[in-house]
Subunit: 574 residues, 2 copies
């Protein structure tokens, strides 16, 4: 075989192994060093190839596809800082537990660390933020090469897709010339399949924990964002059986599509009612059970830390279990579904009055929130109304910072079928547009993105993807001209440097960018226009709905709502 044939075999063997391992989607950024693999991806009909010029956005786009499809997604870029641009999305994928197969093309060994152009030290580039990293050999005629490649691709995908999911990194050096021969068919793979272990809870854990749960008189469950692909029917069976108050963050997707018999146990207003000292005194728990990621609300977490329950049990797939409270007493290492289906909680000792306190407080808060949605005119009220306008069967991708908090405040338990998705691995405001666009590509449902002006601006390059593939997404930008979340923090009490360091207004509006990208643009000046304007949103294309709100008004309105709920809870208790 000549060099070109050897290179051709090498890259198609990689692609065959990726396809064999279940990869369906690849996101490619243009570059020269990655040419052999880019050609192989583009010419393989089993793969769907997406494109995005900005590698930072490309990686978040891939993250979005992986979130929607619950399958590993491949990234490919050229050598140099292109690879460094993947870093923010890789970090997010690591903490959000999303399977990304990051492939970086590299210079051959003789061009590494010798001042060659576009060459950086790429092996282990992402440090502790990938589950695994491997540096591939150059394409050659040696017998071990193709078998090695095939099995290391299989290994990479297996690692990325075993619990907890996460990103892996494959660094692939290519020597010039970079051209290959196109092939219509992929080669056979000798390696057939990785069958990974399931993380079963230990027997003793099941027994011990079943006893603790059965004996508890004042327990609650708190559920944050669940692992990708969690089967919610198991969750609902558990809620039904346990009959405890279940505090669900909106990202758990257990506020929507709620089965009727589970509705009484679902507590959604925890952020509001946890601001009431009287209520907190009333519901001091003996047992707390936590699943999933840390919830958005600080107040519920502070409540747990301060109340120091006798048993605070965290279930996690990762030995690096997530508990920032510092008061956990039990850690169960297991896949959630495996643990829940093996519990014995047929007969619990829960105090009926304790459950009623939660339910009553939740109902009171709900009433205030519903009235607020009708009467108020701020950003929160707008989010609340949008939740009504967005049709059944849709998904909402929610930006970090204020949108995720507004959704958590205003999304009530409902049988309506809407899913809430966000980048909450590291809570960044970066890459949000791209992740939503990738999500909408992998999703067969209508997708909406709710985002603030700074987060939209931060990833405005997410829109470049729309130049390379048909995109369908309604982007709802809440433009309050700056960083709205800081108005809720102690920094807002200090006048000096506030706008410079925290408010950071840009005075930008986004009609021009909509025009540049040929998006439909709808401008909403205030809440009175919202309903009518929303009906003009067309689906099956890329659109921008820009809603103008006022940072000061928003925080004032929010605080007034919390005060009313607090007063309501006081009146109820006396």
């Amino acid at each position: 075989m000549n060099e070109r044939e050897i290179l051709t075999e090498y890259v198609y063997q990689m692609v065959a192994a990726l396809v064999q391992a279940g990869v369906e989607n690849v996101v490619v950024s243009p570059g020269s060093r990655s040419t052999p693999l880019a050609y192989a991806f583009a010419s393989t009909k089993q793969l769907h190839m997406y494109r995005q010029v900005d590698e930072r956005s490309a990686a978040f786009f891939a993250l979005g596809i992986a979130k929607a499809t619950v399958k590993p997604v491949v990234l490919l870029c050229t050598s140099g800082t292109a690879a460094a641009n993947y870093f923010p999305a890789i970090v997010e994928a690591s903490y959000a537990r999303v399977p990304l197969i990051v492939i970086t093309a590299d210079r051959p060994h003789e061009l590494r660390e010798v001042g060659a152009p576009q060459a950086i030290n790429q092996p282990n580039l992402y440090g502790s933020h990938v589950k695994w990293s491997v540096d591939f050999p150059l394409a050659d005629n040696a017998a071990p090469t193709l078998p090695f490649i095939e099995r290391h691709i299989a290994r990479a995908v297996a690692i990325a897709t075993s619990a907890p999911f996460g990103p892996v990194h494959i660094n692939v050096p290519f020597r010039e010339p970079l051209l290959i021969d196109f092939r219509d068919e992929l080669p056979e793979t000798a390696f057939k399949q990785s069958r990974m272990a399931q993380l079963m809870p230990s027997k003793i854990a099941q027994q011990e924990l079943s006893s603790i749960l059965r004996a508890s008189e004042r327990g609650f469950v708190i559920i944050g964002e669940l692992p990708l692909g969690t089967d919610l029917t198991i969750m609902w069976d558990f809620v039904r059986q346990l009959k405890w108050p279940v505090i669900v963050e909106s990202l758990s997707n257990m506020r929507t599509s709620v089965p009727e018999d589970c509705l009484p146990y679902i507590i959604t207003t925890y952020d509001a009612i946890m601001k009431s000292d009287e209520f907190k005194a009333l519901v001091k728990p003996d047992t707390v059970l936590r699943f999933g990621a840390q919830p958005v609300s600080k107040f519920i977490m502070q409540f747990i830390t301060n109340s120091q329950p006798t048993a605070y049990i965290v279930v996690d797939e990762d030995p690096m279990f997530r508990d920032a409270s510092g008061v956990s007493t039990h850690f169960i290492h297991a896949e959630l579904g495996e643990w829940l289906t093996n519990l014995d909680i047929s007969d619990t000792a829960l105090d009926a009055q304790y459950l009623a306190e939660w339910q009553d407080a939740n109902d009171i808060a709900l009433e205030y929130i519903e009235h607020y949605s009708e009467a108020a005119v701020d950003e929160g009220a707008m989010v609340s109304r949008l939740l009504r306008f967005i049709p059944n069967g849709s998904d909402i991708f929610v930006s970090s910072s204020m949108p995720v908090r507004d959704i958590d405040t205003f999304l009530m338990a409902t049988p309506k079928d809407i899913r809430i998705i966000a980048n909450r691995g590291t809570n960044g405001i970066d890459g949000v547009v791209s992740t939503a666009m990738g999500f909408s590509q992998g999703n067969n449902r209508e997708t909406y993105l709710l985002i603030g002006d700074l987060a939209f601006l931060h990833d405005i390059n997410g829109l470049i993807a729309s130049r390379y593939q048909e995109c369908n997404l309604t982007i709802i930008v809440m433009n309050n001209d700056g960083g709205g979340i800081f108005s809720y923090l102690p920094q807002s009490t200090v006048e000096a440097h506030y706008e410079d360091l925290f408010g950071t207004p840009t005075a930008l509006e986004f009609n021009d960018i909509a025009q540049m990208y040929e998006m439909d643009y709808i401008r909403v000046e205030d809440i009175s226009e919202l309903s009518e304007k929303f009906t003009t949103v067309k689906t099956r294309s890329l659109r921008l709905l820009e809603i103008f709100t006022d940072r000061e008004e928003n925080v004032y309105a929010h605080r007034a709502l919390w005060n009313r709920i607090n007063a309501g809870l006081k009146a109820w208790q006396s």
Copy 2:
């Protein structure tokens, strides 16, 4: 002292140490965790604080200021993926050898790796791509804390600013509450100054090398981008004394402000003349001396590799010296100026005929290039004309990919005072707008940016900086709708997938973005409009000159020029 007083002392001691070490500029991105330091920066009159919301752009902006000022620049961001967004610019700073002091705010130890929001594993986040990394202790009352901080700040700046320059990373955890008391005066620093060693060439190296240079009959010097702050008067003295052909890349800044008596030795058309096999046979060297980074032109580097000179001497400040040719024979570890001023090259054996061959070929190529500049209508000809229009005393920041190559082709040796700057550490097309904007901030000369449409789009967020500080930069976008450089690579001979993977046209134009950012916008449809339109460019503001060119036409025109030069050299030799 209470917690707030302790925190106040801690951050002002950091700032005092930074100021004491010579830091003048800081670039801050908004965030909560970084609040104590951000307050301290904002309230310190000895520091100039710049702001940028997008951390990727912020880091390149800081890189640009450091390049212009030849001084360390501080970056500050909050915890989480904000810090990961710095990575591309840090990698560039590492290979381009630019002193950045990267400060990332972090969560306190009890909130690390426990699922707390916006917390990622930050110590050593940038791996091998910083010269040094340190994780600071929390603010406390212990006696060792402030002395440690003060000296580690001094150490960080000393490491970043000793040859070779580079980025360092300081990770600083803060525990809530994050508010401090503002101070008008900085505290005293007990630590006064780091005095770093100079990298003097060893005596034996001076003697040996002087002998080699004196004995050489067929030698040339090749000079790429020189270390930041290189004193060019020493370089010119060397050129004068040595009297060898000196091949200067445009980024060496030895094509402009050329002293008259040095002009005869300066060879600028090496990329063109190295395409002639006849010429290469004529000037096979016995000795090559190389300074600075690897030059843009592949052809000159291939010539060196293929001709295997008896002595190929690389001078570098870094033991990781830059030589991708694989034929180097001597490495001199020293600061360039120290080495040059101590050489004894008063009387060299250079063959006068050999020098004349270089000079004649260069003159022939120059003539064709000058004629081309008058007659041709493509992107290259436009760049060539822009070089004439841009006034004396200006600087041109040049994007990687085609602009840097066009400048290298068309910028001839001239007494005119223009400097050429680029991000050539890793040759990325990312962060170029931001680096140029940062450069123009640190620069007291009029600055122009020459950039292609994809690179402009990649870092369009560089423009956000203009919302937070007065910016003065003329951005000249060569819009050829996609990746022009690939047309020169072997990939362009393969029709299949070419536009999808390499051309990647977006069909975007930038008048809307100019409007969004309130920039002056000038549209140039073809070269006939260039001269007149260029005169309408106003200075002292942010402007966009968008020039439309055609990818196919550009490559055709370039090739025609090279063929004519090749034919001209053939005719001359026969």
